[in-house]
């Protein structure tokens, strides 16, 4: 590669990295505030991983059960996260989610309806009332398409008003960002390249919003697409930001397990919300054995009561299939390890006995389609085989809850899955779509306020040169390691040693092996040229995934307790001391460093929303006596 480097220069007020739900919502907000916005997506516009969200968006509109409200949603979210959530994020989220859903309706979204014509809401794990606004089982697609079309609508208006549809919002599809640029300690723009042709792009911008989603591709079995390589997590670390609680990964209890090529693909929680039951190879409905003490008063301990709940929710406790995801995933894992699993190493999920063929096809159409076409299973007649799959990272960029500003990096913002804190140690289903709407909007507004109050910074030529050298590097090497095989090795390490159940010895092993890959990645070489070259693309993704894996392993080894999406075989219970601590990850240029930081404690008004006896299960005596701030 000796040809001259081609580079485009762009200038915007705000650059949004990621065109999933959070990124698009941020862009809409920043544009509405009058700013010029570039949206960068790694794929084509409208293909983001948000389309895979199936079940719905959680918002306490109270359309189906009028007892619902933000306080109930807030409590459920904190419980689901085992009280490690940043209380302020959970509060904002619960309060603002209904407005974010209603606003989508004004932009053209068509949610399923109740008999009165309001937005219908469905049951989901950990949510006390039917709370998830949905469109069959393709809610994420509806969100993406609605916001994509909202952006087109804004561009059409800009064309009318300013003569150019792209004068205020422009989408740059199939661009990889390799670096967030900084000058004098502040964000000055981003650098990257077009995947299509390898042409480099430099965006000058005062504010950058990270909305890059998750990290699932670090793991072998995952529901995430190729894009989930932790780009935003790594970009934030390299720009001097922090990650919070990277040990918490959500293994969704129900991924497909057979055939091998679809292993990990998500089976929506709505299957359980609509009445699906989990059984082992003895036909036993095993979840009754796995109700933890903290949830005993909310979940039925016998089949008769669990079944009655579907018709009378006020007088019966919920079926244990609807426990928070971490509990169900661990239970399935235990059943399979004890030899009570299905032929292909999962358990059975059956909705055919409770619902008719017609209802299943109406409420779960894409599940029916997915199993019928990919596994040859007709879910209206037979059970699905399911098992845990790496689905979501609760950990992420440390942000200010109100503005989504990344701590320590002026001009950097983060929203959606890439941001940490909101979900604590475990996210409830349905809370991710609401999260990305609430905090996507807040990040857009936060970035707009920041831009209006700060001075533009010019990107220096030395910063550009630096970024260019990094992009050229893999082509300059020859005979080095193949990025595809290194990626596979990394996935084996995380799957085997940093997976759903962890121990100290395995984590030590993982940290050593990740360090070894870190050395070898410096030799990665790629074949071909810059024209749409997946091997070249993977070499950058790999670097990001390594930083994520290192952050996760190093955070996991210090947290000596089990909570939510972090289970230590050698420390199997929750520890009240660890409830008050966040693990904060930073990067010193060579390796990831983890330190502990106190979790902000709830103010009195939020503290008092809980029954003190419930809080006693999580908090130390000292904390409960103090009773909030």
């Amino acid at each position: 590669m000796s040809e001259k480097i081609q580079m485009e220069r762009h200038n915007y007020d705000v650059v949004v990295i990621g065109a999933g739900g959070a990124g698009l919502r941020a862009a809409v907000e920043a544009r509405t505030a009058g700013l010029r916005v570039a949206i960068i997506c790694k794929s084509l516009f409208g293909k983001a991983h948000t389309v895979m969200a199936e079940g719905g968006v959680a918002a306490s509109m109270g359309n189906v059960n009028e007892n619902d409200g933000w306080k109930v949603h807030f409590r459920d979210t904190m419980r689901g996260g085992k009280f490690l959530n940043h209380y302020r994020m959970a509060e904002l989220h619960a309060k603002e989610a209904p407005d974010r859903v209603w606003e989508l309706e004004l932009w053209g979204a068509l949610f399923d309806r109740t008999a009165e014509g309001k937005i219908s809401q469905r049951n989901f794990g950990g949510h006390e009332y039917p709370r998830l606004a949905h469109v069959g089982d393709r809610t994420g697609l509806e969100l993406i398409r609605t916001m994509q079309q909202k952006i087109v609508a804004m561009q059409q208006q800009d064309k009318k008003d300013h003569g150019d549809a792209e004068s205020f919002i422009k989408v740059f599809a199939e661009v990889t960002v390799t670096e967030v640029l900084k000058e004098s300690g502040k964000v000055s723009g981003v650098y990257g390249y077009k995947r299509e042709n390898g042409v480099e792009v430099m965006f000058e911008a005062q504010a950058v919003v990270l909305a890059t989603g998750g990290v699932g591709k670090t793991f072998k079995i995952t529901s995430n697409s190729w894009e989930g390589t932790g780009d935003g997590h790594a970009l934030a670390l390299k720009a001097g930001g922090n990650l919070v609680d990277m040990e918490f990964l959500q293994f969704h209890p129900t991924g497909m397990v057979w055939p091998p090529s679809v292993r990990g693909i998500l089976v929506t929680e709505s299957v359980r919300g609509e009445g699906g039951v989990l059984t082992n190879n003895k036909g036993e409905r095993f979840m009754f054995k796995y109700i933890p003490d903290v949830f005993k008063d909310k979940y039925a301990d016998n089949e008769a009561e669990a079944d009655r709940w579907y018709v009378d929710q006020d007088n019966n406790r919920r079926p244990p299939e609807l426990l928070p995801r971490d509990e169900v995933a661990r239970a399935i894992n235990t059943e399979v390890k004890a030899g009570r699993g299905s032929e292909h190493g999962g358990v059975f999920l059956d909705v055919s006995k409770r619902l008719t063929e017609e209802v299943i096809k109406k409420r779960l159409p894409s599940m029916w389609h997915q199993f019928y076409e990919l596994a040859g299973v007709d879910i209206t007649k037979e059970a699905m085989e399911v098992g845990p799959t790496c689905h979501y990272v609760m950990g992420g960029v440390e942000v200010d809850p109100d503005t989504a500003a990344a701590v320590g990096v002026p001009g950097l913002f983060a929203a959606g899955e890439v941001a940490g804190g909101m979900h604590g140690s475990n996210r409830l289903g349905g809370n991710s779509l609401s999260d990305l709407l609430v905090f996507g909007r807040r990040a857009g507004a936060g970035a707009a306020d920041y831009v209006k109050q700060s001075q533009p910074t010019k990107v220096s030529e030395s910063a550009i040169k630096n970024a260019q050298e990094k992009i050229a590097a893999p082509f300059k090497r020859t005979g080095g390691e193949n990025p595809y095989s290194l990626h596979q090795e990394l996935q084996e390490i995380t799957h085997n040693l940093v997976g759903i159940i962890r121990t100290k010895t395995e984590l030590v092993d993982a940290i050593n092996k990740i360090a070894d890959i870190r050395k070898r990645i410096e030799n990665v070489s790629v074949s071909g040229d810059r024209l749409f070259n997946p091997g070249f693309h993977l070499s950058f993704d790999l670097d990001n995934m390594l930083l994520v894996a290192e952050s996760t392993a190093k955070s996991a080894i210090v947290r000596e307790e089990s909570r939510g999406g972090h289970t230590r075989d050698d420390f199997p219970t929750m520890d009240a001391k660890w409830r008050t601590l966040n693990n904060i990850t930073s990067f010193n240029g060579k390796e990831v460093v983890v330190k502990q930081q106190g979790l902000p404690s709830m103010p009195k008004d939020l503290f008092d929303l809980f029954d003190i006896h419930e809080l006693e299960k999580y908090m130390s005596k000292e904390e409960t006596t103090k009773g909030g701030r």
Binding site: S43, W226, V262, S485, V526
Partner: protein, 253 residues
């Protein structure tokens, strides 16, 4: 149950290209995208292919498999005979960028030309009341994953580059129909515009688009034909024709 299968993959760029034969391992239950990935990881590190969700929900891995527009993630290898060579080529209606990746920007341009959703100006958040039966018609079209297979197969543009200027294609006919049937949309002349500005009249309902739709949207029966019928009604009913002329300025047809 691994076996070796034969693939013939189109490789090249905007200027030149050719079909290349490869032999690759295939395992039970695998789809065409799996074997393409294996080719990529073991034999052709720079083979270009788009994909995302691998579950038929994002519409990225559109290509032509034995000449048929399909999603590679939803095409089982087992559907082909053991000794059959599977030929994989890029979408024919769009310009090639590299290998199996095409420039689909045509579709994004057309999306920009469809007038957006127009709700009543005084509609308050949370105030909308719609019946399930009324939203379902538009919901069918909102299932669209924008794989653009319907656009690729439509013979109006597949081999007629010159028609692209005046023809939006099936994907955008269902978008217009979706808005036209949307209970809250206030624009009244969408069908007319479909006919006059988006080339609805050029479609001669061969239903090829419906056949390739991976979401099984009944593009022709539920969107195109109803719009065509209404447009014809309006055009050939002299009273309505006159009315439409008189009231056109107000946009009420």
């Amino acid at each position: 149950m691994a076996k070796n299968i034969k693939l013939r993959i189109w490789r090249g760029d905007a200027n030149t290209g050719k079909l290349e034969d490869v032999s690759v391992e295939a395992n039970e239950g695998e789809v065409v995208l799996d074997v393409i990935h294996r080719v990529q990881a073991t034999q052709m590190g720079d083979l270009a292919v788009r994909w995302n969700c691998k579950a038929g929900k994002c519409g990225s891995c559109s290509m032509e498999i034995n000449g048929k527009p399909r999603l590679a993630c939803m095409t089982q290898v087992a559907n082909f005979a053991d000794d059959e060579t599977i030929t994989i080529t890029p979408l024919r209606a769009f310009p090639v960028i590299k290998d199996l990746v095409t420039d689909v920007s045509f579709n994004y341009k057309k999306a920009m030309e469809v007038e957006s959703f127009s709700p009543p100006a005084d509609l308050k958040p949370g105030a909308a009341r719609m019946q399930q039966i009324d939203v379902e018609r538009s919901q069918e079209f909102r299932k669209c994953i924008e794989c653009f297979l319907c656009q690729d197969t439509c013979h109006v543009i597949r081999d007629h580059e010159e028609n692209k200027k005046s023809f939006a294609g099936p994907r955008f006919f269902i978008r217009i129909a979706e808005l036209d049937m949307h209970p809250l949309d206030m624009l009244k002349n969408r069908k007319q515009k479909a006919q006059e500005e988006h080339g609805l009249g050029m479609c001669n309902i061969t239903k090829c688009c419906t056949e390739v739709c991976p979401e099984h949207i009944r593009i022709t029966d539920n969107a195109i034909i109803p719009m065509k019928e209404r447009v014809v009604d309006i055009k050939y009913d002299p009273v309505r024709w006159l009315g439409s002329k008189i009231r056109k300025r107000e946009g009420i047809v």
